[in-house]
């Protein structure tokens, strides 16, 4: 048998159809192209073919743009994030010495989710494509190059799965009492600091509260939990290993004394100069894109994070006031939440018996025993995961309440259920089990884990 190599990226490009309309100027359409080692001719050909395909599909169904192109050697995914803008990514893999694309290597939806996510993250930090494009095409090219060159390096093709497709949020369930306390705390902050517009509260990688709308919450949550916070943690671990590093030595007294700090914002409240660069994000507020700054405030006791958005100008006085205000209140709150988290962990032991993914479309709530932590690879085999993705794609298409049970060639059962916009996927090994056995098993699972969700009990 020949060795199958994993999928690799051939190219990734973004173009605008309104540019380079005249013959011979087609290359002007290109806003971003990876790899830049491809010469202009090759780049223009790729863009030209993509545009021709888009046009061709348009003659049959103008409202359904092309999504996937399959050739013998490659698979291309298309995404149109905004009018006239197209993002395209092509993959290939080798089978021994023959280049033949394995159709089932990575699921289409998972591939498209890479494009969609990259666009949304770009938009979060830079606003929509058209915004910079309309100002200046050249600066738009610069901006795209700056962002996507880095993004492409972070793509992990082999790991793309249902988690990436769903872009779910892990919530931390709280008791009524604690929840009211959290709400009061947030309300107090928003009332006392008029320039704080939105607030989000996280415990570890679990979301407790967000005053942003779902779409923005989802994308910002994804960015924080998979990018900013893990990076920060890594830096922190590195610093504790290397005490000679000056910058982190400055940190030390602050950490030990107060136990909380700003992740974005001043590293030292005594020094106005230490505010540093605060990330800016774009939020669509009532149909208009507005710029906000993100301040992330972290309590060290239990990796407890808390951040705020406010309108731009920030002085060290503001941070001092904020720190003084939050500091005393947050201690008790942290304690309460940590306690609740311990109870939740005990509960999740029952969950660990089963291998499942739960997702609620209404609030993007995501729960799973398959991923040990967010952003980590699943503990079930890639074949089962692909089947999960396929079932999800089918549910997506039919948009009604459904149930799907299947037995794989290796005698593993895979079950998918969708009811009232809630999806549940389960993988279960049942040696010699029949359809009725797995049905009973599912009833048990739903009873013990989702007993409160009426729709699953049918």
């Amino acid at each position: 048998m020949t060795e199958k190599s994993p999928s690799t990226l051939i190219n990734f490009f973004i173009f605008n159809t309104t540019l380079g309309q005249e013959e011979g100027t087609e290359h002007e359409k290109i806003l971003f192209y990876y790899p830049d080692a491809d010469n202009i001719d090759k780049q223009s050909r790729s863009v030209g073919l993509s545009e021709a395909i888009v046009h061709f599909c348009g003659t049959f169904a103008p409202d359904r743009p092309c999504e996937v192109v399959q050739t013998l050697k490659s698979r291309q995914v298309f995404y149109q994030p905004e009018e006239n803008f197209w993002m395209i990514m092509a993959l290939t893999n080798k089978d021994g010495n023959n280049i033949v694309y394995h159709q089932d290597e990575v699921q289409d939806q998972a591939l498209q989710s890479i494009l969609m996510l990259s666009y949304k993250i770009f938009r979060l930090f830079n606003g929509p494509f058209s915004m910079t494009f309309n100002e200046s095409v050249d600066s738009c090219r610069e901006l795209l190059k700056h962002f996507f060159t880095r993004f492409i390096k972070s793509i992990k093709l082999a790991q793309q799965d249902l988690q990436d497709v769903l872009q779910g949020i892990r919530f931390l369930p709280l008791g009524k009492q604690q929840f009211l306390k959290v709400q009061q705390f947030i309300n107090l902050i928003e009332a006392n600091f008029s320039n704080i517009t939105y607030a989000q509260l996280l415990f570890d990688d679990q979301l407790i509260w967000s005053s942003l709308d779902l779409d923005h919450t989802q994308i910002l949550y994804g960015y924080l939990t998979t990018n900013l916070l893990p990076n920060h943690q890594e830096a922190e671990v590195a610093s504790s290993l290397d005490p000679n590093m000056n910058r982190y030595c400055l940190f030390e007294p602050l950490c030990t004394v107060t136990n909380y700090l700003f992740i974005t914002g001043p590293t030292e409240l005594g020094h106005a100069a230490s505010i540093g660069k605060i990330p800016r994000i774009f939020i669509n507020k009532n149909g208009k894109w507005e710029i906000f700054a993100v301040i992330v405030y972290k309590v060290l006791v239990d990796v407890y994070i808390d951040y705020y958005y406010y309108n731009l100008t920030s002085t060290i006085d503001f941070f001092r006031k904020l720190d003084k205000f939050i500091g005393p209140q947050i201690k008790q709150l942290t304690f309460d939440i940590a306690e609740q988290n311990i109870i939740n962990r005990r509960l999740s032991l029952t969950e660990m018996q089963y291998r499942f993914i739960y997702f609620n479309h209404m609030n993007c709530a995501f729960k799973s025993s398959i991923y040990p932590k967010i952003n980590q690879p699943a503990i079930i085999g890639p074949d089962l995961m692909r089947l999960f993705c396929d079932i999800h794609a089918e549910f997506d298409k039919s948009k009604s309440n459904e149930e799907f049970l299947a037995k794989t060639a290796t005698d593993c059962w895979v079950v998918g259920k969708i009811a009232d916009q809630r999806e549940l996927f389960v993988a279960q090994n049942l040696k010699n089990g029949s359809l009725l056995d797995i049905n009973d098993e599912m009833k048990k699972l739903v009873g013990s884990l989702f007993g409160n969700i009426f729709y699953f009990n049918s």
Binding site: R45, H55, F60, A61, Q70, R386, N401, A409
Partner: protein, 432 residues
């Protein structure tokens, strides 16, 4: 003015067939387009619309295919929403399917292969290659003129008959001793040049006799069935025509003697010979067969009855719980399926039923992750797919039926099929 007798729908269909082009408002509503063009981009066939008017769009198709070829690659498919665009380059031809039905990409590729084979059955592969070698820009319609109806019929059949995606044939249920004596009658008519003797009715096989050394591939048999189905002229007289069976031999013709058993019996006898001058020889064989069927075994009324009443079929199993099924025996390479009853009693619902089967078939056979069993409960019906070493079963249930009841029904069904196996399938392969 035949139109006076045609229903409004047929007339509408007829006009759509002729008048539609890319700018027509109904263009995007058509659920399956099929196009054939030459490598040079010359239109050869379009399922809907006049191919003359589709020169531009076919030009685009040719450009896309050759553009990808230039970089030493092959364009296979595009997906846009629920619409699939499948490309198949075969010899000097480019075949394209654009479908918004459930057909999967591999299923559409298979259908395009059938379309290609249909063309070969008229021209042979060797002739097709030669024509385009001599003149790259040749207008193939000159040679295919008059055979469009076979393409149309084939395409319609593929949308409503599961034989194609199951890659097998359905047999007319008939008691085994009758089938045996029919086969013996066919065997007795052996002549020097006779290769295959086939008795079919509509889309069901009654019996088949073949040489020891050769098999008749289901794909070739489907072409023969399509040939018989698409034309009414065989009913009136004995016909003689050349046909190329691409799986058997794509470079030469066989010669088919086609006739119906009698005016009352809608069973069609196809005798295939290697000799183009063997008409009288085979006509004589036919006489012998009919004589033996009437005098010796009195089989003709049995065949007629089986066709009209479906007395030996499985229709009685269909009820309020199990609505429809397909059972394919891997051992015999044949399948059985009951007639459609409510809720599948309208053309729309029957098409939808085929869509369900196509979906289920694809779901179970998807190459990287084949499944042994699938149960899918939807609002309109419950679907079951089950594949073992010896059979494939696809069944549709009332969605309100519990899994326990559904499984009970399946067990009953399997027991009945086992019991009636020799009636439902051709269990003894006959050779000359």
């Amino acid at each position: 003015m035949y139109w006076c007798f045609a229903s409004k729908e047929t007339i509408l269909c007829f006009f759509t067939l002729i008048l539609i082009d890319v700018s027509h408002p109904d263009w995007s509503k058509i659920n399956k387009h099929i196009f054939i063009l030459s490598e040079a981009g010359k239109p050869i066939y379009s399922r809907y619309g006049n191919e003359e008017k589709l020169v531009t769009i076919m030009g685009v198709m040719q450009a896309l295919v050759s553009f990808v070829q230039d970089s030493d690659d092959t364009l296979q498919s595009l997906v846009a929403g629920n619409r699939k665009y499948v490309f198949l380059v075969k010899g000097p031809l480019i075949l394209v399917a654009v479908s918004s039905l459930e057909d999967s990409v591999p299923q559409l590729q298979l259908q395009l292969t059938y379309v290609y084979h249909q063309i070969l059955s008229v021209l042979t592969g060797a002739q097709l290659e030669k024509i385009f070698e001599q003149l790259r820009n040749y207008d193939l319609r000159k040679l295919l003129g008059g055979t469009e109806k076979f393409l149309h019929n084939l395409l319609d059949m593929m949308d409503r008959d599961p034989s194609f995606f199951l890659e097998s044939v359905q047999c007319l249920p008939i008691p085994v001793h009758y089938r045996d004596s029919i086969a013996s009658s066919l065997q007795h008519a052996k002549t020097k040049s006779l290769v295959f003797a086939i008795l079919i009715t509509e889309n069901q096989l009654i019996t088949l006799v073949r040489p020891k050394k050769y098999n008749l591939h289901p794909a070739d048999l489907h072409l023969i069935i399509n040939l018989v189905n698409a034309s009414t002229s065989f009913q009136s007289c004995e016909s003689w025509l050349p046909i190329c069976l691409p799986k058997f031999n794509d470079s030469g013709y066989l010669h088919a003697h086609i006739s119906y058993l009698s005016e009352e019996c809608p069973a069609c006898l196809v005798l295939l010979s290697t000799d183009k001058d063997a008409f009288y020889e085979l006509a004589e064989s036919r006489e012998k067969i009919i004589k033996r069927l009437t005098v010796k075994s009195n089989c003709i009324p049995v065949i007629s009855e089986a066709i009209t009443t479906n007395k030996y079929g499985l229709d009685y199993i269909i009820g309020s719980e199990i609505w429809h099924f397909l059972y394919k025996s891997k051992t015999y390479g044949q399948f059985v399926s009951p007639k459609c009853r409510p809720p599948y009693n309208t053309v729309e619902e029957q098409t939808r039923l085929q869509e369900l089967y196509k979906y289920l078939h694809h779901r179970m056979h998807a190459s990287a992750k084949p499944l042994k069993l699938v149960y899918r409960l939807r609002s309109q019906e419950a679907l079951l797919g089950w594949i073992s070493e010896t059979f494939e079963l696809y069944a549709v249930f009332n969605p309100l039926v519990s899994k326990t009841v559904a499984i009970g029904n399946v067990k009953r069904l399997m027991a009945i099929i086992k019991q009636e196996e020799d009636k439902l399938f051709i269990v003894n392969a006959r050779t000359f």
